[in-house]
């Protein structure tokens, strides 16, 4: 297995750094249902880390633990060398973790531009009064933030829909707008919950390109959940495989592909 203790160099020559986030023996229960059972893995700086598994394996729950939406009953989340206390999602966001959702959560009536601007909330400090009279700090901040947002719009090639209300956009584009909003927060870790679900081949190719570009251009660490095995194997540096709340595999795509437990989970064997 690939030794990743000190960071590593990927096949295509990207340098992956040390551990930024570590999950230690996480267990998450909803009443009697165990969604995640004693899972540990790490996420390294600059890598694309995928979490895969069959339906109901607990992938989204895992992502929600990372994003602070769920607090696990047992186990610890370590972030940048410190144990993370129980947090609200907005506190996690402040730490530089942004996400997209499986079933798009945008403001349908607002334009693409306004939606992406909401991603900059964290960078706005002007007070209510200043915002209301639109002088000094508020105005300056708006200009700065708009500039940052325009760079992202350019990056994701959504200039032509800048002023279009999100509700009028097709699904594939909405997904891209959601990615734009997450990027607007300038996250150090980006969580993508099924970024390619429901897309056609061309849209998937575009999206894959953008995920790689984001990682390459901004050095963002990316954690993604995805169903499409082809996409996962092509994109990610390391993969965690879950099944029934347990971790059954962890390693590079090649290693995971050869793992007997993973093959069984996907092709199906009788569970007892």
């Amino acid at each position: 297995m690939l030794d990743t203790s000190e960071g590593y160099i990927t096949e295509d020559g990207r340098k992956i750094g040390g551990v930024v986030m570590e999950m230690k023996n996480i267990t998450l229960r909803f009443g009697g249902v165990v969604a995640i059972k004693d899972i540990s893995f790490d996420i390294r700086e600059g890598e694309i880390r995928a979490i895969i598994g069959p339906n109901g394996a607990g992938k989204s729950s895992m992502l929600n633990v990372i994003s602070g939406f769920y607090n696990p009953q047992e186990g610890e989340v370590w972030y940048k060398g410190q144990r993370r206390p129980q947090m609200k999602p907005y506190q996690v966001a402040r730490q530089g973790i942004a996400r997209t959702f499986q079933n798009i959560a945008l403001f349908e009536g607002m334009t693409v531009l306004d939606n992406v601007m909401t991603g900059r909330i964290r960078q706005m400090q002007a007070g209510l009064l200043s915002q209301a009279i639109w002088k000094g700090k508020a105005e300056r901040e708006e200009v700065e933030n708009r500039e940052a947002v325009e760079k992202i719009i350019d990056f994701l090639e959504i200039q032509s829909i800048r002023k279009t209300p999100v509700g009028r956009l097709p699904y594939g584009l909405k997904k891209r707008v959601e990615l734009a909003r997450a990027l607007a927060a300038e996250p150090s870790i980006l969580l993508l919950d099924e970024p390619m679900a429901g897309m056609n081949v061309e849209e998937k190719e575009d999206m894959s390109r953008f995920v790689l570009d984001v990682n390459d251009e901004f050095g963002t660490t990316i954690v993604l959940i995805e169903h499409d095995m082809g996409v996962v194997m092509d994109l990610s540096d390391r993969v965690v495989v879950m099944d029934y709340g347990k971790k059954i595999g962890d390693g590079t795509p090649d290693e995971v592909r050869k793992n007997q437990d993973v093959i069984d989970a996907y092709l199906g064997v009788a569970h007892d």
Binding site: R146, E150, I153, Q159, S160, R162, R209, D213, E217
Partner: protein, 658 residues
């Protein structure tokens, strides 16, 4: 300014015109590009600095005089600068279509032996890396957009801005060399080499000198009184001669501003924001825009619809006359003024034509209804007839003499003669130097006295003296009984229907004419939506019985109108089929400028052509398609062959017409 003849003596190259503009119009805008949501602007003085920096950078990379530099990207100031910078160091820019497939690009780069290429982004870089093994002389590649390219081997790959920085840093070292090379440019030196799309065979490299470009730009600018205050939107492919003339030739001659859109998809918004005063578009663009307006009007409220139709009827009646300065009654003028306030003005503004003073269309025939629609709104839309080999201009329509069925009178400085077989020949200062490395084709196209064969058949109309083009001379054939067969003429008539995107008519050497038809997905799709007709794919819609019914009625209408024309009554379409796929340049069925490649289509769909003549009423077929990334796939379909009603004509009388 720029209309006097003084310039020709002093300014013998584009870089020389740049120097003039940088001193005379230093603070006037030369380029604008929308980026990050804002129109960024460069004045002529700034432009000169940018171009100089890039030229110095090219010297630094070792560009020699006479080298070819390929340019591949969408319309952005950087590429226009790269072209002028290349000229400044004595190299020759070769713009190529950025959407061309790798093999097409390989052919062009190999043929001219390009040592350098300036390209837009990763997509183009990847494409050239793929074909690099075939290119023996190729050395360095320069890209504008660094995204995704960070990890690439940068030994022979450079970022545009870095080349400029290195150029600025090495100014001391190279500036004298640059000045010397710039000083050597004269009227006879090569200005640009453009590859013609070629409806048959391999593309040919058309060498155009400074004389060609500057003379053509100068006389056409005078013809339409263009001045430095014009605004143009550069959105047509840079590899096309028209864009070179409008965005470089005329822009540098007159000193006007070239605006580059943010991306290909935002063109409509950008057009509206800029409001160009001088505008060029192929008929297809006008057609699409009109179709969109009509579709949107269908969704408008009652009152608006009635107002629109009422005033549009009025405009159709008196608009063109008002535009041409013909006498129109005071009451009609008042109504037109009112219409302008309520309908025409806002409509023109929405379409981005609010300020158009001179608009041109060319390349294909334009439907009379479409042409009249724009003219009746008060947009001075005219036609021109041109070729790459002529530095665009052969004929132009003067203000006040505009019609949809002619292409106008000889452009200033152009002589035209019609050969015995009907082919149009011309001679002008804009006539190209040669086809690069192809003396044979040069000799067969251009004779010793400088007359160039256009390959189009046409005639001068009696009375008005305007030129009318019938068809490509080589496409004009004979039917089995020896009468003239002019496919394009019939195809154009078919294409004037919004539902028909493309048509290919067969009949050379046969007894009857038949046709392939492509439906227009926008128009037919909208119709289907409004009539509750469900369809899952292009193919399904194209085969829908009611669509076939509609197309049949269009074909029959064309037949009726053909029957009235004694020269072409026998070209009526007897049978047709609606194709299951759109004809596409990626499949080689059309050129990149969207002209039908008759030969390729005839071969590729041989089974379908056979079926049109052997009396079958349907045919199953399997067709290879090429996706944008070069992969191939197949689609199969069963197509109905439909008989169209023809108007009987008395054939014996008409034989003489041939």
């Amino acid at each position: 300014m720029g209309t006097s003849s003084q310039a020709a003596d002093g300014f013998q190259s584009i870089p020389a015109l740049l120097q003039r503009n940088a001193s005379q119009f230093a603070n006037r805008p030369a380029y604008r590009e929308k980026e990050f949501g804002i129109w960024q602007c460069w004045t002529w003085a700034e432009t000169e600095k940018e171009i100089e920096a890039f030229a110095l950078g090219l010297l630094n990379l070792g560009v020699n005089e006479g080298d070819f530099i390929a340019i591949a990207g969408r319309n952005r100031p950087y590429f226009y600068w790269a072209m002028v910078a290349a000229q400044s160091v004595g190299a020759i820019p070769v713009p190529v279509y950025q959407d061309s497939a790798a093999e097409e690009m390989a052919y062009v780069l190999e043929h001219c032996g390009a040592r350098f290429a300036v390209v837009e982004d990763q997509e183009q870089v990847d494409k050239i890396i793929d074909i690099q093994d075939k290119l023996h002389q190729f050395e360095h590649m320069i890209y504008v957009d660094p995204r995704g390219l960070r990890k690439y081997d940068h030994h022979k790959l450079h970022q545009y801005s870095h080349v400029q920085e290195q150029g600025r840093a090495a100014r001391e070292e190279f500036i004298e060399d640059l000045k010397a090379r710039r000083g050597k440019l004269e009227y006879a030196s090569t200005c640009v080499m453009l590859y013609t799309s070629g409806t048959t065979g391999k593309p040919k490299g058309v060498v155009l000198s400074n004389r060609n470009i500057i003379e053509a730009s100068k006389s056409s600018a005078e013809f339409d009184h263009l001045h430095r205050g014009e605004e143009v939107l550069a959105y047509l492919p840079m590899a096309w001669v028209g864009d070179f003339i409008f965005s470089i030739g005329q822009a540098y001659w007159c000193g006007f501003c070239v605006n580059c859109p943010e991306s290909a998809d935002t063109m409509q918004t950008d057009l509206r924001e800029i409001g160009p005063t001088y505008y060029f578009a192929p008929p297809r663009v006008f057609e699409t825009q009109l179709t969109n307006v009509m579709i949107r009007m269908e969704d408008a409220g009652r009152l608006k619809q009635r107002m629109f139709h009422y005033f549009m009827d009025h405009a159709r009646r008196v608009g063109p006359a008002i535009l041409d300065g013909k006498p129109v009654s005071g009451w009609d003028r008042f109504k037109y003024w009112l219409g302008n306030l309520c309908v025409y003005g806002p409509l023109k503004d929405t379409m981005g034509f609010g300020r158009v003073r001179v608009g041109y269309t060319a390349g294909e025939a334009i439907g009379p209804e479409i042409f009249d629609f724009y003219r009746s709104l008060g947009i001075n839309l005219k036609q021109l007839y041109g070729q790459t080999e002529a530095s665009v201009f052969i004929t132009l329509q003067p203000d006040g003499e505009v019609r949809s069925d002619t292409v106008g009178v000889a452009a200033p400085g152009v002589e035209i003669r019609i050969a015995e077989n009907g082919e149009v020949y011309y001679r002008s200062p804009g006539v190209f130097e040669e086809y690069y490395k192809n003396a044979e084709s040069t000799a067969s196209t251009k004779d010793a006295e400088g007359w160039v064969a256009t390959g189009d058949a046409g005639f001068f109309e009696e009375g008005s003296g305007h030129l009318r083009i019938i068809d490509r001379a080589k496409d004009v054939g004979k039917m089995a009984d020896g009468r003239m067969f002019a496919p394009k003429y019939v195809e154009n008539k078919l294409k004037f229907f919004p539902n028909i995107l493309e048509a290919v008519v067969f009949g050379n050497g046969r007894k009857e004419c038949t046709a392939f038809i492509n439906i227009d997905l926008t128009a037919v799709g909208n119709w289907a939506e409004r009539n509750n007709i469900g369809y899952a794919s292009y193919q399904e819609l194209a085969g829908h019985p009611r669509v076939l019914e509609t197309i049949k009625s269009h074909v029959e209408e064309v037949n009726r109108s053909l029957a009235d024309d004694p020269m072409l009554a026998h070209c009526q379409v007897h049978r047709f089929l609606v194709l299951h796929k759109e004809l596409d340049a990626d499949d080689g069925e059309m050129t990149r400028t969207r002209k039908v490649r008759r030969g390729v289509i005839g071969e590729k769909f041989e089974d379908l052509v056979m079926a049109l003549y052997d009396g079958s009423d349907e045919i199953s077929t399997r067709t290879e398609v090429t996706y944008e990334d070069g992969r191939k796939g197949y689609i199969s379909a069963t197509l109905k062959i439909i008989e169209a009603e023809v108007v009987p004509v008395d054939s014996h009388e008409k034989v003489a017409a041939e």
